[in-house]
């Protein structure tokens, strides 16, 4: 029998697979079996869990009746609150985590054209969460036809060229679908490394002619009709605002054949391509063109390594070894039962891989894992400290001055562009860049954002706890009961915080422990009225660990 999972190992796994390890979940995982089977049992349980969603919260948040001049964009805040509720409390943690990773590949954002379409933005995230363990080809089609993506990357309303004018199809979705959602710009080996030509330059995976070919494919699609208004046309420009039956913010886009380009379309060429001359024949229906084009993309050899590597980066490590990427990409290419694009198999392979499970040793340890992105630091912290609010609403705007994005540099569904909050290729100057490695999350770990996050944790630790009185109803507070109980003992206090945030008291570095203890002891606990001193000591311990480099690291 294999050895049991240690607490530290459980934390490591749960920080990859959930929105933050907690002691309760770690104990549950450990109880599932030994290290040979507990992880896969936990994953299987998670895969069986139903998805918790965002759209119902947005629909429920509409006032009835809807007042004149209602600020519909305010419902984006309800979406975000529900996202915090789902990620802090949802039982479908793995699905939520993978869905969030997918949302950083298939990006739409409330910033920009979707601002006043909160149902669409919420439902788009829901299709990613629902599809987290599904079929990648299906997901790609759902993404393509979702009106949120249609609006965000202007495929919605894209129309065929008009003869004798300079009007031609919009290339936006075509280009970004290939560059960001499926194959990337350069040809890849199955292990994710770049294929170079004889002169040492990376080989492009598509060119402008192919961009124009897919742009022609993606013509003729616009809003689906609300069931109450079946006579809508391509010219129908506004979705219905009210959340009535048949509400078309969330229904897949509809084809209007008169606006679809019927000529031939050049698509991707690669070894094994099935379309003759990598060309879609003229005269097909728009639906057939779409099917052929998405099949053509889906079967490109880049998709496996391109998507697998990014999922590994989001879940496990910034710099996976080529062998690790290859093991996952091969599972993407064939799940063992002949299926391509089976995300359930891909996710399992990512999390059960030896590179994910076994702590790196020696020089490899220096580049193992990744920096936690700011939202994941926050959710882990809140989960570890059982954060809640008097109203029971979680993560609402009241907690973030100027919005979550303004404080944490990111918020679900709020990327500044389709290029996400950070690039998978970002390499900060210095040893990371010099060694050819990347640290995507470092791109938003600026002096400014880090300071605001430190201030957030300080405020949380010092004044937003269960002991605070007069907190506004929606303010999230943490439960520091156990810390306060041992706060007269600096060793016990720092050990308790380390157990909560790092898994075991032995995980904390000697320096952090010594500095935290010294700082704790600077506040002397008086014999009478000790509460204020105990609270300060607790706040110091929590603040110094929560802002430390070692908490920012996902091991």
């Amino acid at each position: 029998m294999a050895p049991p999972i240690s607490k530290v190992e459980a934390f490591r796994f749960l920080n990859q697979a959930t929105f933050g390890a907690t002691e309760v979940e770690a104990n549950r995982l450990i109880a599932l079996g030994d290290s040979n089977n507990a992880y896969s049992r936990w994953i299987d349980q998670q895969i069986g869990r139903e998805a918790t969603l965002l759209l119902p919260a947005v629909e429920a948040a509409y006032p009835d009746p809807i007042p004149v001049n209602f600020n519909i964009a305010s419902l984006n805040g309800d979406r975000l609150s529900q996202w915090f509720t789902n990620t802090l409390r949802g039982e479908d943690q793995l699905r939520q985590r993978v869905g969030f990773a997918l949302s950083e590949i298939f990006v739409v954002s409330q910033v920009g054209a979707l601002q006043n379409l909160p149902n669409a933005t919420a439902d788009f995230h829901d299709i990613l969460v629902r599809g987290a363990f599904g079929d990648f080809r299906v997901l790609l089609e759902n993404v393509t036809l979702h009106p949120a993506m249609g609006v965000y990357l202007s495929m919605l309303g894209n129309q065929r060229a008009v003869a004798n004018t300079n009007l031609r199809p919009d290339e936006n979705y075509s280009r970004e679908m290939m560059q960001l959602f499926s194959i990337g710009l350069v040809q890849l080996n199955v292990d994710g490394t770049v294929r170079n030509d004889a002169s040492g330059q990376p080989m492009a995976s598509f060119n402008q002619e192919v961009t124009e070919g897919f742009a022609r494919v993606f013509t003729g699609w616009k809003w689906e009709c609300p069931t109450t208004l079946p006579a809508c046309t391509f010219a129908t420009t506004r979705p219905q605002l009210a959340p009535v039956a048949g509400y078309n913010q969330v229904r897949p886009m509809r084809l209007y054949p008169d606006f679809h380009e019927t000529g031939t379309k050049l698509v991707l060429n690669y070894p094994g391509v099935t379309l003759p001359n990598a060309t879609i024949q003229a005269g097909q229906s728009g639906a057939q063109d779409l099917k052929d084009a998405l099949d053509n993309v889906f079967n490109h050899p880049n998709v496996g390594p391109f998507i697998s590597k990014q999922l590994i980066q989001r879940l496990v490590t910034s710099n996976p070894s080529p062998a690790y990427v290859q093991r996952v990409a091969e599972k993407f290419n064939n799940d063992g039962a002949g299926r391509r694009g089976n995300l359930e198999a891909v996710v399992k392979t990512i999390l059960l891989d030896p590179d994910a499970r076994n702590p790196a040793s020696g020089t490899a340890a220096a580049s193992a894992g990744k920096l936690k992105e700011p939202l994941l630091r926050l959710t882990q912290f809140w989960r570890a400290y059982e954060a809640t609010s008097r109203s029971g609403r979680l993560g609402v705007a009241a907690n973030f001055s100027g919005g979550a994005s303004a404080v944490f540099g990111q918020a679900q569904g709020s990327s500044p562009s389709v290029f996400n909050f950070f690039s998978p290729f970002y390499a900060p100057p210095g040893e990371i860049s010099d060694s050819g490695r990347v640290s995507p999350e470092m791109q938003i770990a600026t002096e400014y954002v880090n300071t605001q996050i430190a201030n957030f944790f300080w405020t949380q630790a010092v004044s937003r706890t269960h002991a605070a009185t007069n907190l506004a109803a929606d303010i999230m507070y943490i439960n520091t009961t156990e810390e306060l109980a041992v706060a007269n003992d600096s060793e016990a206090l720092i050990n308790r915080v380390a157990e909560r945030l790092l898994g075991e008291s032995g995980q904390i570095s000697a320096t952090l422990k010594a500095q935290a203890k010294a700082q704790i002891e600077r506040t002397v606990v008086p014999a009478t009225n000790p509460n204020s001193a105990l609270a300060t000591r607790t706040a110091d311990a929590i603040f110094l660990v929560a802002t430390s480099p070692e908490f920012a690291l996902q091991r």
Binding site: A113, S154, N158, V162, T165, N166, L167, R168, P169, D170, E171, N172, R175, L185, S199, Q201, P202, Q208, T211, E212, A366, S367, G369, L371, P416, S417, P429, G430, E431, I432, D434, S435, R437, S439, M442, Q443, I444, A445, E447, Y448, N450, T451, A454, N455, W458, V462, S509, T511, L512, Q515, A516, Q519, D540, F543, L544, T547, S548, P549, E550, A552
Partner: protein, 467 residues
């Protein structure tokens, strides 16, 4: 070790080799007021228009034949037209222009920019973009067989942003051109109370460097640490916090992600109080007032102007600021939304110039624009797509303004410089632009190739737009 002693050691380290572990320790900045090696102060301000500005609508030909070509290419007369109405253009006069010459005008929402141009304080780069060497349409079309060097991944947002930022051409490069300027000038400008490179708009490859670390603040400056009040146990809490960072950066058992994170955190603590205080004591400008509604770009530029106003307190001699605004990726609704974006650019640039003039630094501060790429002349229905060459602007008292640099192309779809769909080949390069700005800033001629690696492929190493 007491704090004074620690400060002294940091200051000493900044003058010499400061690498404790690789480059993670970076340059440790002097906290004392330093004096730069330059007797004067100069600042460059990069204004990045994210998304790819459709700049053929920013400066538009107005003479009949040229306007008609422009309008035809942009679908003029159809419901999908992107052309700006000819009568609405704000006219400008080029040096020596007489009746019958080619003529141009600014977009109607750009009164401030037009006024600066008329005052000779704004120069127009007529058709600029990333190039590795001068390129003709034939060279572009046959590059696949001839090997004529083109910037890789033309028409891709992030790749072409990277080209503007880094001028890397086909090389792999880990630094931006502003970062390399800072590195080249490090000996003279490095010992400052603030980094040479300061971003008010997030991390940018433009400022990435090997030696001189950039610093990122918010639109209104840095934030101070709430946990470190100067009374009670605050200073000691700060000391504990900093000790953890120092230990992390110096530990071979920490991970490279922890070290990188700690390095940022350390700069954050070192600069926050001092810069916040300096900005609070900065000049109150009439043109960029402390109160009232300003756009994010205007707030960023106000903060830049305030830092410039306290340059002496901070011991600054050379700085490169990065500010930005987005929304330019107008595949949709271009006609509806572009006026607001261009209006913001124009008014912000004018307010910034006027503010810098208020403190008498207009000859020492130069603002210039970058954007991902120009856009297609042709319409996709209600917007335009990713292209290549376009118009950029340079503003300041040291700018030889009121002129065009580079040839403004005939905007004819299918014309001599169109590689398809109205994607125009640039006539001057981003390398030439950067080299001209860097020369003014104090980079010596022999170092220009470090800043602009392809500069020697172009006949003109200096475009002549700086005095």
């Amino acid at each position: 070790m007491n704090r004074l002693r620690r400060k002294f050691l940091k200051a000493a380290a900044a003058g010499g080799v400061a690498y404790a572990f690789g480059r993670t320790a970076g340059t440790v900045y002097a906290q004392m007021t330093g004096t730069g090696g330059f007797a004067d102060y100069k600042a460059l301000v990069c204004l990045f228009m994210f998304g790819g500005n459709d700049s053929w609508n920013m400066v538009v030909p107005s003479s009949t034949a040229e306007y008609n070509a422009y309008s035809r290419s942009r679908g003029g007369g159809t419901t999908s037209s992107l052309a700006v109405d000819r009568t609405s253009l704000l006219p400008i006069t080029l040096p020596g222009q007489v009746a019958g010459d080619l003529s141009y005008g600014f977009h109607p929402s750009m009164i401030g920019a037009r006024d600066l141009f008329a005052q000779g304080k704004l120069a127009v780069m007529a058709n600029i973009g990333p190039l590795i060497r001068p390129t003709t349409k034939t060279q572009y079309q046959t590059a696949g067989t001839t090997g004529h060097a083109l910037p890789p991944q033309l028409f891709s947002h992030n790749d072409q942003q990277d080209q503007w930022h880094s001028l890397r051409g086909r090389a792999t490069m880990k630094s931006g051109w502003a970062g390399r300027v800072a590195d080249v000038l490090n000996a003279q400008a490095g010992n400052q109370g603030l980094s040479v490179n300061v971003s008010l708009a997030g991390q940018t490859f433009f400022q990435a460097s090997e030696i001189a670390k950039p610093y990122v603040m918010g639109a209104n400056g840095p934030t101070q640490f709430a946990a470190f009040p100067t009374s009670g146990v605050g200073p000691l809490r700060r000391q504990s916090f900093e000790s953890v960072l120092t230990a992390t950066m110096g530990s071979s058992s920490s991970s490279m992600y922890e070290r990188a994170y700690a390095s940022v955190q350390q700069r954050a603590v070192q600069f926050a109080d001092r810069i916040t205080l300096a900005i609070a004591n900065g000049y109150s400008f009439n043109a960029l007032p402390n109160t009232g509604t300003l756009s994010s770009l205007q707030q960023q530029l106000r903060t830049v102007a305030k830092i410039i106003s306290v340059r002496q307190n901070l011991g600054l001699s050379r700085q490169i600021f990065f500010v930005s605004t987005g929304g330019f990726d107008q595949h949709d609704d271009l006609v509806r939304d572009q006026p607001g974006l261009l209006s913001n650019i124009s008014s912000s640039v004018k307010m910034f110039y006027d503010s810098i003039r208020e403190i008498g630094m207009d000859n020492n501060v130069t603002l210039f624009t970058h954007s991902d790429f120009g856009r297609t002349l042709t319409s996709n229905g209600d917007g335009s797509d990713h292209a290549w060459g376009g118009v950029q602007m340079v503003v300041g008292g040291a700018v030889r303004g009121g002129r065009f640099y580079g040839a403004y192309p005939l905007l004819e779809n299918g014309g001599l410089s169109d590689v398809g769909g109205g994607r125009i080949i640039p006539s001057i390069s981003a390398d030439q632009y950067a080299a001209t700005l860097a020369s003014w800033f104090g980079v010596g001629d022999t170092d220009l190739v470090k800043v602009a690696p392809s500069i020697n492929n172009f006949a003109a190493r200096n475009l002549g737009f700086m005095v």
